[in-house]
Symmetry: D2
Subunit: 403 residues, 4 copies
C-alpha cells in the first residue's frame, strides 16, 4: 500500500500553503509536470520519495477562508494557475480546506494579529494551553487520515525577531515557563514546533521566525527522536546572493557594496511592511554575503510592500566591486519571480526529503538540507553550490546504501 | 637567486597586454595590491609562485606603438590607471617596449590586417618561415634575459574560426604542409603556439583563436614536453553564465531563453565588429549554457562595437525561465566591467600557475586551469564552481605534496 | 440613430487585430474600462467620438483561424485577457470572424507567405485584380453592415522595404502598371490602401509597410477625398526614445551612443526574424533619435525573436552620454510591455479620431495624428510631446469650433 | 568693459561648488567645451549672457579646505576632471579659495554640524548677528571685486525640513524675531537669502532647504527689488520622473506604483543618511509624480549612502502600470550620473539667466526658470517639457524685444 504522508501547513491559506496544495493536486492528476522540484532532478529519481498523490494536506490558519478562495484570488491578482486547474481539482481543494483548523491567536504580533479573523473558541491563556490544542488537532488529523508520517511545515507570516535567553536553554525550566499565563515565553511559530516534537512528528521551518531554533527545543526533539530542519526558504534574491558572492570571492574581486531592494505586493508584504517583522527577514538576507566573502561590504537591504505587484517579487541588486588595479566595476541584476511559486516546490522538496530520512530511521536536525535555507541551521555554509554538494553527497550515500 | 619567468605577450600593445605589463610593474613597486588575482587568495599564498617582480615581459605586435603610449591612451579613454603610476613606472614600461618585436603579418585576417602597420622586413612566405622567425625572437629574448621559463601568452585579437581537417591530424603530414608557400595551413595564433612547442616553451591561449587546439599541435607539445592550456579567458558575461546556469539546473528551473547582448568600444571591438571574427567569440559564449543545462534553450548572443564605450564592456542578459506549475519568470543582469582589467589578472594567474606546474616538472595540457577559460580544453566541465573545485583540489594536492 | 463605423482590419486574426476586436467587445459590454485609450482622456471626452459599440469589425486575413481561437491562444501564451471575457463575448467574436475574408496572397514576401494557409479561390494575377477583389469585399461589408464610414486599418505583419521609383510618381502611369501581370509594382499593404482610396474610404497604416506612402497613392486619395494617416504605430521602445531624446537635447547632454535590443516571441516576431522584414522596422526605430538630437550618435537596434516570450516585448536600451566637463554617464532602461495590448488601443484611438475628422468633412492626410506614429507622414516632428501638443491643439480647435 | 558677475557659493568647497569653480576656470581657458550647459544651446547663443570668464567666484564654507584639495579629492574618488586641468588652473582655484569665508555655524543641524571645522571667530548669537556677518562678507567681496551683479547660490548640504508658522508671515514681526538670541527662527540657508535680499543681491536656492521660501522673505525681496528663484536643482532621477510621467499620462496608462531607489557615496550622501535631512529631499522627489499624473500611485523613494560610490548616483526606478484591458506592464530604468557634474552646469545656467534678467531690469521671483528645479517656486507645473517651453518662450520674447 502507498505511503501516506501528512503535510500540516502552518499558515495554510497563505500564498505558499495554497500553492503547495494546488501543486500537489495538479501534479497528482498529471495536469502539470514537476518543473521547479529539486527532487524531480535525475539524481533523485531512484529514491523512494513520496509521490504528490501520497501527501494528505491539512493545517492551521488564523484567517477564515479556503484553498478555493485563496487560489482564485491568487490566480486573479498574480496571473498564475490556469482557471481550469482550480475547477478540475475542486474536490481535492475542498477536502484539504476541511482539514484546516483555526490556529491559536495567543502571542501573535500586531501586524499578523490584524489579519486574524478566525478563532474556534476562547483564546488559550498560556503557551502550554496553545500547544496542547495544536497537539490535539495534529493527533486527530493523524488518526483520521492514517498517516505514516506527519510533517509540520511552517509557511506562515514572518514574526518579529524574538530574543532568546537563559530561560530557553534547558528543557525542564523552559517547560515550567510554558505553563505560565500571560505573555508567552516563545512566539507562535514555536508552539507548532514544540507540539510536533512532543508527539515525535517532523518540523520544518520555511520562515525566519523562531520556530525550533533554541536549545530547549533541540533537547525536546532529541528526547522524542523528531526530525527537523530550517530555516527561512532560500527562494530568490538570497539564492542569487549565495550564488554570486562565491564568484566574487573566487575571482578575488573585492565587493565594496551590495545593495538589494525588494518590492512585492502580497499579504506577506503587508506583514513585512511592519518594521519589526521586516527586520527578521533582512537579517538573514544580509548575513549570507558577509559569511561567504569573509568581510562585510557596505550593504543596504530593503523589502517594500508595493500594492498591485501581487506575488511578483522584483529585486534589484547593485553590486559595486573593485577589480585589478583598483578598478571599480558594477553588476546589477533584476529578479522577477513569483514568490509563492518559487517557495512552494521547495516546501514539497523538503517534505519529500524529510520523509526519505524518516524512512531511513533518521532523527534530529537534517543539516543536509541547508541548500534550501537562507539561514541553515547546523551548517555554517552559505555558499549555495557547497550546500548543494552536501545534498548530492547525501543522495549518493543513500543510493549506495540501498543497493 | 630569484626565479626569472619570461612572459611573452602575443598582441603585446593591446589592452590586455598593456594592462598586464602596467600591472606587473605597479605591483612590483608596491603601488597597488593584488586584488583581482586569484593566486593572491589565501589558498594560494603558500605556493612557490613567481612574484610580480620575477616576470620579464616581452612580446610580438603588428602595430607600431609602445606600452607607454598604449597605457596613456587607455587611461584617457577608459578612465583606468592613475596618471602617476605611468610616470613612476616609465622605466619598466620603456624596457618592456624595447623587448617587443614586430610579428609576421602572414595569414592575418582582413579585420586585423587593417590595424597592422609594423613589419620588420619582408613578410614571411610560408608558415614555417613565420614560425622560424618567431622562434628566433623567442630564443634571443630567453638568452638575453636569462629566463628560467618562457611562457607565450596569446592576448591578440580574435581570429575568425579556422576549420581544421585531416591535414591537422598527424604531425608529420602537418609539418610538410607548414613549409608550403601561399595561404598557410593554420592562422597566425598557431604560429606562436608551434614556435613555443618546438622550443619546449609554455603556451597559453587567452583567446578563442585556433592556437594549439588541434591534434598535430598536441603531438608536438607531447614530443617536446611543453606545457599548454586554453582557451578564451572567462572574464565577464560568460563567467556569469557559468555561475548562474548551474543555479537554474540545481533548482530544476527550465531556462526557455537566454539572451545576451554585449557592447563595448575598444580595439578588440573593432575587430569583433567583423562578423567572421565575432563568430568565434559567440560560439564559446553560447555553448556553455547548453553544456551546463543539458538542453538548448533559445538563445541570442550579440557583441557590438559601440564607439565611446572604451574598454567598458556592458552586457545585458535576459534569462526567461519556467518554474513550478509552468510559471514564467525572468532574471536580467547588467555587467559593467572593464574588459582588460578583468582579463589581465587572469593572464597573470595563468602564467604564475603554469610556472608552478613547470617547477613541479609538469608537461602537456593543464586541465586544472579550466576555471579560467570559456572553452576549457581537456575538461568538458563548464560549471564555474566545479571547475574551481578542480583548481582547489590541485592546490591542496600540491600543498600536501610539498610538506 | 447611433453612428456605425466599419473597422476593417488587414491582418485581422493577428495579435493587434484580435486585441482590438476583443477590446471593442469587452468595452461595449462594460467588462473593462478604457485605460490605455488616449481618446478616453479628459480633453477628448466632450468630442463626438464613436463609442466602442458603434464599431463593426471586419477584415482580411491569410491564415485560416478565428478571433475565438486567436484570442484563446493569445490568452494562454501571453497571460492576457480573462478567460471569462472570451466566453461572455463569444457571440461578438463569432460575428466578427464571419466578416473576415481571405486576403489575396499575390506579392506576399517569403516570410509572410509561409504563414498563409487560406485563400478563397485562385490567386489574383495582377495588382489590379487583387485590388478589385479587395474592393468587392469592402463594398459587400459596407452595404451589408450599413456603415456610415469605413476605415481600413493595416495591422498585418511588416513587409520588407519596398523601393519606390519614378513609376510610383504619377497616378496615370501607375494605374497602367497596376494592371500588368507578374510581380506587382507595389506590395500587398498598398493593395488595401489603393482599394480604400478608390472607394473613398479611410486608410490608416499601423505598420512600417509601404501602404499609401508614395505620390501616386496620395494623388488618388486627393481625387476621391479619402482620409489617411500613418505610419508604424509608436507603442513602446520608440515611444520611450522620442520622450527621452528631447530630454538629452534640452539639457545639452551629448548622446554618444544609443543601443536598443528588443526581444519578443509572437507571430510578428517570426516574420521580423527575417532580416529583410526586420530592416523596415529598424529603420524607423533608429531614425527618430537622429531627427530629434540633430546629430547621429552611434546606434545599434536589434529585434530578436525569442520563443516563449509570447507577446511580451522586452526592450533594453543603453544610452551613453557626455555631460559637463566631458563626463561620461549612462542611462539604461528595460521596457516590458505586451505589444498587442499597447498597439490595440492606439488603433482604436486612430479609428475614433479619423471618424471625428470624417464627421467634420476632413480630407487627405491627417498630420495631427503624428504622436501615434514612429514615422509620422506629413509631420517632420518626432519629439513626442511636440507631436502630442499638435493633437491637443487640434482638439482645442474642434472644441472651440463646435461651441 | 566686460561685465563682472560675482558668484557667491554657499557651501563653496562641496562637490557642486567645486565643480562650478573648476568648470568656470576650464571653460574660460578653453580647456573644455560647454556641453551640459543649457545656455550653450542654439536658442540661447544670441543672448547677452555673461561668459565663463566674466564670473568671479567667492563663497562661504564651514569646512576648512580649499578648491584645490576638494577638486583633487573629487578627481581621485570619482574619476572626474583631468589631472592636467587642476594644474593648469591652479592660479584661478587658489584665487577663488582666497575669496571663501567661514560661514556662521549658528543653527546648523546635527548632521551638518559634524562636518564643520572652520569658524573665524565666536559663533553669532542670533540670526540677525549671523546675517550681518554674512552681509559684511558679501559687501567686502562686491567692493573688492567691483562686481556689477552679485548672485548668492546655495549649493550647501540639505537641511532637515524647517516648519514655518505665522511668525514667518510678515516682515516686521519676523525682523523682531531675527534679533532674538537662542534657537534662530530660520535655518542657516535662510540667513544667506536674507543677507542677499537686504543688500539687493540675487539669491538662487539649488537645494531643498528653506532659503527664501517663506512670505516674509518674499516681502523683503520685493522691498529691495532682489531677484530670486528656487528650489532644489532637478538633475537626475527627478528629471527622468518629470519626463516620463507625462508620457504615461498622455497615453492614458495608469501608473500603479513608482519605486525609486537612489544610492550614492559623496559627502552629501553622509548628510542625507540622516533621516531628517533625507526627508526634505524625498518630499520633492515624490511629489512631482502625483502632480503630473493627477492621482497618487503607490510610491517608494529611498536615498541611501553607499561608501565607495563617490559622486556617482545610481538610481533604479521601477514603474508598474496598467494598460489596455487591465494588462500590467513595467518600465525600469537605471540612471548612472555623476551628481555634481549634473548639478554644476545648471548652477552656471541659473547664474547666467539670472544675470540676463538683471540686465533687463527684472525683479522678484523668476518663474521662467522652473525647468531647473524639482520644486519650482511660483510655477505649479512639474512636467519638464512644459516647463522648458516656458523658458523657450521667455528667450523668444527677449530675442524679439532686443531687436
Amino acid at each position: 500500500m502507498a505511503r501516506r504522508v501528512g503535510l500540516w501547513l502552518v499558515g495554510a491559506f497563505g500564498g505558499v500553503g495554497t500553492t503547495i496544495t494546488v501543486g500537489l493536486a495538479t501534479m497528482a492528476r498529471g495536469l502539470v509536470d514537476q518543473t521547479g522540484l529539486v527532487t524531480d532532478l535525475t539524481d533523485f529519481r531512484a529514491l523512494p520519495l513520496p509521490s504528490p498523490g501520497d501527501f494528505v494536506v491539512g493545517g492551521h490558519e488564523i484567517r477564515r477562508t479556503s484553498f478555493e478562495e485563496s487560489a482564485e484570488e491568487f490566480r486573479r491578482e498574480s496571473g498564475v494557475f490556469e482557471a481550469s486547474w482550480l475547477s478540475d481539482c475542486r474536490e481535492e481543494l475542498a477536502a484539504a480546506t476541511a482539514r484546516v483548523r483555526p490556529g491559536p491567536t495567543l502571542g501573535l504580533d500586531p501586524a499578523v494579529r490584524k489579519l486574524a479573523n478566525w478563532e474556534a473558541e476562547a483564546a488559550p491563556d498560556s503557551a502550554r494551553h496553545a500547544i496542547d490544542r495544536i497537539k490535539a488537532d495534529l493527533s486527530a488529523f493523524a488518526a483520521k487520515e492514517k498517516v505514516d508520517h506527519l510533517i509540520v511545515l511552517n509557511v506562515a507570516s514572518t514574526e518579529p525577531p524574538f530574543p532568546i535567553s537563559e530561560a530557553h536553554e534547558s528543557l525542564s525550566a523552559f517547560n515550567t515557563a510554558l505553563a505560565r499565563k500571560g505573555e508567552p515565553i516563545v512566539p507562535p511559530s514555536s508552539f507548532y514546533a514544540l507540539a510536533a516534537f512532543e508527539e515525535g512528528h517532523t518540523y520544518l521551518n520555511f520562515t525566519p521566525s523562531l520556530g525550533a531554533s533554541f536549545p530547549a527545543a533541540a533537547e525536546l526533539a532529541a528526547s522524542t527522536g523528531s526530525l527537523y530542519g530550517g530555516k527561512d526558504g532560500k527562494t530568490g534574491e538570497t539564492l542569487m546572493k549565495t550564488v554570486l558572492a562565491p564568484m566574487f570571492a573566487a575571482r578575488n574581486l573585492k565587493v565594496m557594496s551590495w545593495v538589494g531592494h525588494n518590492i512585492f505586493g502580497n499579504r506577506d508584504g503587508i506583514v513585512l511592511d511592519e518594521p519589526s517583522n521586516k527586520s527578521s527577514k533582512v537579517r538573514t538576507k544580509d548575513k549570507v554575503i558577509t559569511d561567504i566573502l569573509g568581510y562585510k561590504p557596505a550593504s543596504v537591504v530593503s523589502i517594500e510592500y508595493v500594492p498591485g505587484m501581487g506575488d511578483w517579487k522584483t529585486a534589484w541588486d547593485h553590486i559595486h566591486f573593485t577589480g585589478f588595479l583598483g578598478t571599480k566595476m558594477a553588476l546589477q541584476f533584476t529578479w522577477q519571480g513569483c514568490d509563492s511559486l518559487l517557495a512552494a516546490p521547495l516546501g514539497v522538496d523538503l517534505a519529500r526529503l524529510a520523509d526519505l530520512e524518516k524512512q531511513r530511521g533518521g532523527k534530529g536536525l537534517m543539516t543536509h538540507l541547508s541548500c534550501f535555507f537562507k539561514g541553515p541551521e547546523g551548517d555554517p555554509e552559505n555558499d549555495f553550490f557547497k550546500q548543494y554538494a552536501k545534498l548530492e553527497h547525501y543522495v549518493a550515500t543513500i543510493g549506495a546504501g540501498t543497493k
